[in-house]
């Protein structure tokens, strides 16, 4: 089935999840019965469905006795510094994601003025088109007679240091249901409330300072500092956090809801901090771990 949207998870008289109500691609309301419900909609979609799954037994949304479904939303504040070097770096070749990764400033050092830390990610320069297009956007590579000279200064002469911060949980950063806005099936839209913390702001500035030091030590003759990026770092995490205490977490160490014993979450919602790196591999590992745990504990999965 494709192009389906789940509206809510249903529960039976015993408080167990027994299916989902969804809309198919043509907008028809449908029902899928289930023995086990596994949420995999990540940090915004999962709490959106759980909060919309209200019943007399779960008036505040499903799996939400802690009141934490949707809360502690975390992202990854990201910034970078671009260094320009005199020598040719061959920097338009090779993988783009990250050439060198440093965790030197990953652990907490309270003398820095913030908790936790960040990854430094050294990335190569861009290919020809992106070099020219980004250079045009920044005003550094104009069109016209000076184009070639400016282009040759930047193409193959750039390396960047990215700073990816570990955002920490704060309950006021949250996903709720919008009281008015709905999607085309009438399902309430998620409403995102997020304010970047002072801790994350200090962390990012510290990282950008270190990035400049690294590039200067490496011989950069020109640096361009880009602070918090609006178009990056939107990894949606933390809104159904994992823990042993039902009062302070949503799912247990198996990824199973404390409240609904056949409801599992296997996405970025279960993160308790964001971790200072891209989360997909960790989400995949958690999903595999939860699936493996379910398989190993079939006999007492719902105990």
């Amino acid at each position: 089935m494709g192009r389906c949207r789940v509206r809510e998870v249903t529960v039976n008289a015993d408080g167990m999840a027994d299916g989902v109500i969804y809309y198919d691609g043509d907008g028809n309301e449908c029902y899928q019965r289930a023995e086990v419900v596994v949420m995999a909609c990540n940090g915004i979609g999962t709490p959106r469905i759980l909060l919309n799954s209200r019943s007399s037994a779960f008036p505040d949304g499903l799996a939400n006795s802690s009141g934490l479904v949707g809360k502690n939303l975390m992202f990854h504040p990201v910034g970078f510094v671009q260094g320009v070097f005199e020598e040719q770096l061959d920097s338009h070749r090779g993988p783009t994601g990250c050439c060198i990764l440093s965790k030197e400033f990953y652990e907490t050092d309270e003398t820095r003025g913030f908790l936790r830390g960040y990854n430094m990610q050294i990335t190569r320069g861009s290919g020809p088109f992106n070099t020219a297009a980004q250079g045009f956007a920044s005003g550094r590579i104009p069109w016209g007679k000076k184009h070639h000279e400016a282009f040759s200064r930047y193409f193959d002469h750039v390396a960047s240091v990215g700073i990816l911060c570990e955002d920490l949980p704060e309950e006021h950063n949250r996903v709720t249901l919008d009281p008015e806005l709905v999607d085309s099936d009438g399902i309430p839209a998620p409403k995102i409330s997020y304010t970047m913390s002072e801790n994350s702001k200090r962390m990012l500035e510290h990282g950008l300072d270190r990035a400049e030091e690294v590039l200067e030590a490496a011989g950069a003759v020109e640096m361009h500092r880009s602070g918090l990026m609006r178009q990056a770092g939107w990894h949606n995490l933390g809104t159904a956090r994992m823990g042993n205490n039902p009062e302070t977490s949503v799912v247990n160490a198996w990824g199973r809801s404390h409240d609904v014993r056949n409801l599992f979450v296997i996405d970025g919602s279960v993160f308790v901090t964001s971790g200072g790196l891209n989360p997909t591999s960790t989400i995949q590992a958690l999903a595999l771990y939860v699936a493996d745990t379910m398989k190993k504990n079939l006999a007492n999965l719902f105990d």
Partner: protein, 149 residues
């Protein structure tokens, strides 16, 4: 998709001349002759821009604004008119310029000229030079900065 039959092309011969003059104004040949200008015989490919709705019309509107004599005026006058258009219609200008860059920086002679070589640089076609891994020795001597799990 643009009709590839030249006689059905939406631009008149005069507009084609003006468009080539525009492209050569945006990216002129380099003074040392190493890099060509962005003017091209393959204007059909330039106009076939799937990322911008109504791109052909955007180009025609820009050419109209630049004047029917654009191809015959001096390079300085062309620059002045293009600058003026950029100021009054920045979004349309950006669409045309980005397409100019996209077409220009895929041409084999251009890639050759900037030292990139033809074709995508990764993953095939490039040998990775042996690195000096002894550079990592000071890093490896550093104490552990992460917690065991």
């Amino acid at each position: 998709m643009t009709n590839i039959i030249g006689t059905d092309h939406p631009l008149t011969a005069a507009q084609r001349d003006a468009l080539n003059a525009l492209l050569d104004t945006l990216i002129p040949p380099s003074d040392d002759g190493q890099m060509p200008g962005a003017g091209t015989q393959d204007l059909d490919a330039f106009l076939d821009n799937p990322t911008v709705t109504g791109f052909e019309q955007t180009v025609c509107t820009m050419l109209d604004a630049l004047g029917t004599d654009f191809a015959t005026v001096s390079p300085a006058e062309r620059e002045a008119r293009v600058s003026g258009y950029q100021g009054t219609s920045p979004e349309s200008f950006n669409e045309v310029y980005l397409q100019t860059l996209a077409m220009y920086y895929r041409r084999p002679e251009v890639l050759q000229g900037i030292g990139s070589g033809e074709g995508p640089p990764f993953p095939r076609g490039n040998e990775v030079a042996d690195g000096d891994l002894s550079l990592l020795d000071p890093v490896l001597r550093d104490p552990k900065v992460y917690r065991p799990t």
